[in-house]
């Protein structure tokens, strides 16, 4: 482990105050010894930088998929006091409400396995990759509704069923959305992209449930062994990217105005209750709502394809859950024995509320929130459930994915997209993308083992394993 970092428990590490100048609280991260071998010094530095921000509560945290990002580390979580704390786009990222959702189907593996026609049909139906434009014509008025009502707008417009909203974090929308705080440029970018997947690590996968660890929770989530499911990973597209770009600039000026010393310009921030902080929060919430609507439209498109090919109803493909993993939210947590509202930033981290949380729908209150953790295109994804330990240790948060260990430059040098497609096909996984580069960039070898990451969060107790799924068809963005 890196010099200056202390081992404080099984899979728990502390970055003490003083690791970088100006830290107000210690840093804390969760990592096994073996995952620690690939920990980058830059990621720990970023974790420590976050601890210098005003109003941070208890710890600057990172989950076991921690890696070097910009502003916060990826996997970073921090809660801020509403009175003295700040809000920062560097704690959310450019892809606001990048998130993931899982749908179940009544189909079995033997019905879907090897069906290249199905993968091709999904690839045609869901726009992907650089320059991918939506077939939908979204009017400026509809765009505003998307930003205000999120997934609810999509369902009201015919892209889904009412039950979907109960299965989204926050019901698929943040009520604090302020579309007025979203620039004309951001809106211009959002208009043609509703229902598009994007590129990079975004994907749509058909998966099979291979293993059930917690039968009661799996039953409550509607998951059974051998079932075919669909996982969708994408975010707020150009609209969210532009909101981040616009507000980093505005908040950098604001940070000077409020005399906040920044260790990294990408941590530009302002007091949460300041006009500048509220403007970012409103614009970020509007972008988060756009992302929920986006995933909802893609869900509808996917259901239509499956419905047509297998003669099943959309109602037979319910949503297990939809989680955001790049977002800042006002949530109630226990701090120093008192319940209080705080602003929780999650940058590449997933909300994982435990049993008894008021935020959960009635039928999930005893199990805890479903947590969806994607793997890479050749490795397992997992469903977990939130825990009371997460409420105590991590402001109700857990990991968001496997986490990269190989750079894109290295991936392109050492891996061939064509060879990866051939290897995965031998394992029964059909991969489709616009380019071989996109496949090499996201090959299984570039990620940490997702098994090892989820085992850490399970062992630490900040979420508990429910089911393991493996891919049989992959559409890469």
């Amino acid at each position: 482990m890196l010099e200056g970092v202390r081992h404080t428990g099984v899979n728990e590490w502390e970055v003490p105050i003083g690791f970088v100048p100006g830290m107000r609280v210690p840093g804390k991260f969760f990592l096994s010894e073996s995952l620690g071998k690939s920990l980058e010094p830059g990621a720990v530095q970023q974790l420590a930088n976050v601890a210098t921000l005003p109003g941070i509560i208890r710890h600057s945290l990172a989950m076991p998929d921690i890696h070097w990002g910009y502003g916060f580390p990826i996997g970073g979580v921090a809660a801020f006091s509403l009175d003295e704390g700040v809000i920062s786009p560097g704690g959310v990222g450019f892809d606001i409400n990048c998130g993931v959702r899982l749908l179940t189907t009544p189909l079995e593996m033997k019905e879907v396995s090897g069906r290249r026609d199905l993968i091709e049909e999904l690839f045609r139906a869901v726009p992907t990759g650089v320059g991918g434009k939506s077939a939908l014509r979204i009017s400026p008025r509809n765009l505003k509704e998307m930003m205000v009502k999120g997934a609810g707008w999509a369902v009201d417009s015919g892209y889904g069923v009412k039950g979907d909203l109960l299965r989204c974090e926050d019901g698929g929308y943040m009520k604090q959305a302020d579309s007025q705080a979203v620039s004309a440029k951001a809106q211009q970018r959002g208009l043609p992209q509703g229902g598009t997947l994007g590129s990079g690590n975004h994907f749509l996968e058909l998966q099979v449930v291979r293993e059930i660890f917690d039968p009661d929770a799996a039953r409550a989530f509607g998951i059974r062994s051998g079932q075919v499911c669909c996982m969708i990973h994408c975010g707020s597209r150009g609209l969210g990217h532009q909101v981040c770009t616009d507000h980093v600039k505005l908040l950098e000026t604001a940070a000077k105005k409020y005399h906040i010393t920044l260790p990294d310009r990408q941590l530009a921030c302002a007091p949460i209750t300041s006009p500048e902080g509220m403007a970012y929060f409103g614009a970020m919430a509007a972008s988060a709502n756009y992302a929920w609507a986006n995933r909802q439209i893609i869900t509808h498109t996917t259901r239509q394809v499956l419905s047509k090919m297998f003669r099943i109803d959309c109602e037979e493909m319910p949503l297990v859950y939809d989680v955001a993993h790049n977002v800042a939210k006002i949530e109630e947590h226990r701090v120093d024995g008192k319940r209080m509202n705080v602003c929780v930033h999650r940058k590449g981290a997933t909300r994982a509320f435990g049993p008894g949380s008021d935020e959960l729908p009635a039928d999930l209150v005893t199990t805890g929130q479903p947590v969806i953790i994607p793997g890479s295109m050749g490795t397992s994804s997992f469903v977990l459930r939130g825990t009371r330990t997460a409420m105590e240790k991590t402001f109700g948060s857990t990991c968001h994915g496997a986490g990269r260990i190989m750079s894109r430059t290295q991936a392109k040098k050492t891996l061939s997209g064509k060879q990866i497609v051939a290897n995965l096909l031998k394992e029964g996984i059909i991969v489709r993308a616009h380019s071989e580069n996109a496949i090499a960039d996201e090959a299984p070898d570039v990620y940490k083992s997702s098994d090892e990451v989820v085992n850490v969060v399970h062992d630490v107790g900040i979420s508990r394993l429910v089911a393991r799924l493996s891919p049989i068809g992959v559409i890469k963005g």
Partner: protein, 135 residues
């Protein structure tokens, strides 16, 4: 004058070298276009833009962010730029062509230009910059 992609686990880190600030910014611009759209980019149309910022780092970030915006909303893929920097004022003539899904889909979208890890330095050999693109 040159740019190279250097190893970064999560994102795309670019290192560029040039003899003048104008040429340095041009290298960063070319790197951005190559990451998003690949190497096969041609001319045919042109677009003029001007940017004014508070400092040199912001000038670079604002310029590249504006290029991303124009490329996306106007569906233009740029292959060349003539850039003039005067203090904190930048004017550029960008040359490019309409987005062609057959030739321009081999890259990856850049979500934003990050200040983390951004450095612009001058030494005896000229200018050098490091910049991180979020992908």
């Amino acid at each position: 004058m040159s740019f190279e992609e250097i190893s970064h686990t999560a994102d795309v880190k670019i290192r560029a070298r040039a003899l003048t600030p104008d040429a340095l910014f041009t290298e960063a611009f070319l790197a951005l276009m190559q990451v998003v759209y690949g190497a096969d980019r041609r001319g045919g149309m042109s677009k003029e833009i001007t940017i004014v910022s508070d400092d040199t780092e912001s000038l670079l970030c604002d310029f590249l962010s504006e290029v991303l915006f124009i490329a996306e909303v106007e569906g233009q893929v740029f292959s060349r730029a003539e850039i003039r920097i005067d203090g904190l004022h930048l004017s550029a003539v960008l040359e490019g062509e309409p987005f062609d899904p057959v030739r321009h889909s081999c890259g990856t979208e850049v979500k934003g230009i990050s200040y983390s890890g951004l450095s612009i330095q001058k030494d005896a050999n000229g200018y050098m910059l490091d910049i991180l693109f979020d992908v």
